[in-house]
Amino acid sequence: MSDRPRSAAELVQDRPESGVFRVHRDVFRDPAVFQLEMERIFEGTWVFVGLESQVAKPNEFFTTFIGRQPVLVTRDSEGVIHAFLNSCRHRGAVVCPFRKGRTKFHVCRYHGWAYDSAGRNTLVTDEAEGQYPESFVQEDHGLLPVARFGNYRGLLFASLSPDVPSLEEHLGEARAMLDLVLDQSSTGWEFVPGPVNYTFDANWKLQLENGLDFYHFGSTHSSYVDVLAKRAKASPPGVTPPPEVDAEAQGSFSFENGHSMMWSIRNPPRGLRPLAFDTARLAEVRQRVGEAKAKWMLRQRNLTIFPNLQIIDIVSLQLRTWRPLGPDRTEMMSHCMAPIGEEAEARRLRIRQYEDFFNPTGLATSDDNVMYEYCQSGYAADTDGWTQGYARGLGGGNGGPSLAAEIGVRPAAEAVGSLAFGDETCFHASYREWRRLVARGEMQAAAE
């Protein structure tokens, strides 16, 4: 089409004064846009790589990806955590082909070059006989570390670009939303063993949006809602969650640097979360964090940390992250998060409710995945490149009292409405950051 946008600035239109926020379909389908996203977002800013507790002991490791690049995360024998590009300095082969494990040395299986768990090269096979030039001997042969590596309360982030603010600055005020999750345990967090991996043939941003999308729940998940209703009738829960003290509402808090959180307040709360079930833990948490924060901990909160982390705190606690494989293909990594040392019955409830909702073999996420694929196929329709999916909430006033204030948080924007609101302004923060990062690259490219 002749009026197809040419630049990142044009692909995301953000004119709040005229009530316009639009995202062009090319953002989801154009291979050239995907290439820019990999370079400037996934390989250009902070991305989530894993939990510190995945490398709890010295010499433990796991492998992952940052954008397209293979990464090895290790805890060295001194206890320091590192993230390296998982590629042998010799010929580039993946050094560690395993998902996770524990070893003092990583030996490349091609020519036998070896590295310790701190990434130092410990062996260039037959170096003395290799007739190497002096320059080679002078070179460092250790695994290449990522440009920046950070740890926020056990959540590990890395950036392949050195040109990023500190992790604290990148997370900004959204840290308080992470704290609302992390403060639910005074004993640390772990992944329940058994990661679940799946793919869908659609763009990664469909997942990013869906994780913030309250609007779809009643329609996409109506079969699940029917199942819940049947269960409630057949066997009413023995333990009921504490009642809500505030009026029912739905809304979002948006933050700088692409992060945002969708929330809902229901009375009675939907389902029984492990924190409400484990009354001893809840009492301890209440006492430690105060009434206001405890109240928010018991509400639905879907948090997105741009660009690749979502923590969904509903009847279980899901941490999901993703690796874009192409404009129309995404690999998902899903984990059930839990307090270390959780009481057995609460843990069982957490696991059952996680599987029920979040598994691609469960009763809800499976519907989402199929819908992403219908969106991706639908994006081929090209008469109008602009969808109308970013407008709910754009006409609302921001004049009401801040709900975030009572927990001492100052979001960049807040949206509040009824349970039928289905706010879509919560997507905007991510697209603003998307545009900033992609456009920044465009300006650099133009200058070069």
């Binding site: 395993f98 998902r99 996770k100 494990g101 329940v192 063993p193 058994g194 990661p195 679940v196 991996n197 799946y198 793919t199 869908f200 043939d201 996409t220 109506s222 079969s223 699940y224 029917d226 199942v227 049947k230 269960r231 057949a234 690999e331 059930c336 057995a344 843990r347 069982r348 696991i351 059952r352 996680y354 599987e355 598994n359 691609p360 073999t361 469960g362 009763l363 499976s366 519907d367 995945n369 199929v370 819908m371 694929e373 219908y374």
Partner: protein, 167 residues
């Protein structure tokens, strides 16, 4: 019971289960299960080890009774789930059926399976393979029913969505 009789009981029930799933004859399929039947598809801890404790580890599917299966069928029948509109077409193949422990009232049987699936939604074929472990029980009415089914699914990168009828 002789081993030959046990093998015949197992083959009949396992073949029948595959057939009912492929015909999408959900009621007949459910009737093969005891009311307290456990249905379990473990996840994987790493490259080699499936999860082994459903109360401490994640499963892809875990139902401690037949109610969980009934709910999944109800979800299909609501015609509200996009995973089931349209449903994939499946063909189950069950082989290497080997009764491992046989008593008059129960049989532990292992087998291998393959499911070819065609998803008309995207015109794409998938293949899933794995092993089954069934516990069969002779119920008071004389019928053999499934008291427990464990499905070891070798594929642990799930394409989009997967339900009980694909394994």
């Amino acid at each position: 019971m002789t081993d030959v009789t046990a093998a015949a009981v197992c083959a009949d029930l396992l073949y029948r289960e595959g057939l009912y799933l492929d015909r999408q004859d959900w009621d007949s399929w459910l009737a093969l299960y005891a009311e307290d039947a456990v249905f379990w598809v473990p996840a994987w801890l790493d490259e080699h080890r499936p999860t082994s404790d459903p109360d401490r580890e994640i499963s892809l599917i875990y139902h401690p009774s037949r109610v969980g299966l009934e709910e999944r069928i109800m979800r299909i029948r609501t015609r509200k789930s996009v995973t089931a509109l349209p449903l994939p077409r499946t063909v189950h193949m069950v082989t290497n059926i080997l009764p491992m422990a046989v008593t008059d009232g129960g049989i532990e049987v292992t087998s291998s399976w393959m499911v070819h699936e065609f998803d008309p939604r995207v015109s794409r074929a998938h293949m899933y393979v794995g092993r089954y472990e069934h516990t069969l029980r002779r119920e008071p009415d004389g019928a053999w029913r499934i008291a427990r089914k464990k499905v070891l699914l070798t594929n642990d990168m799930i394409p989009t969505a997967l339900d009980f009828y694909s394994v």
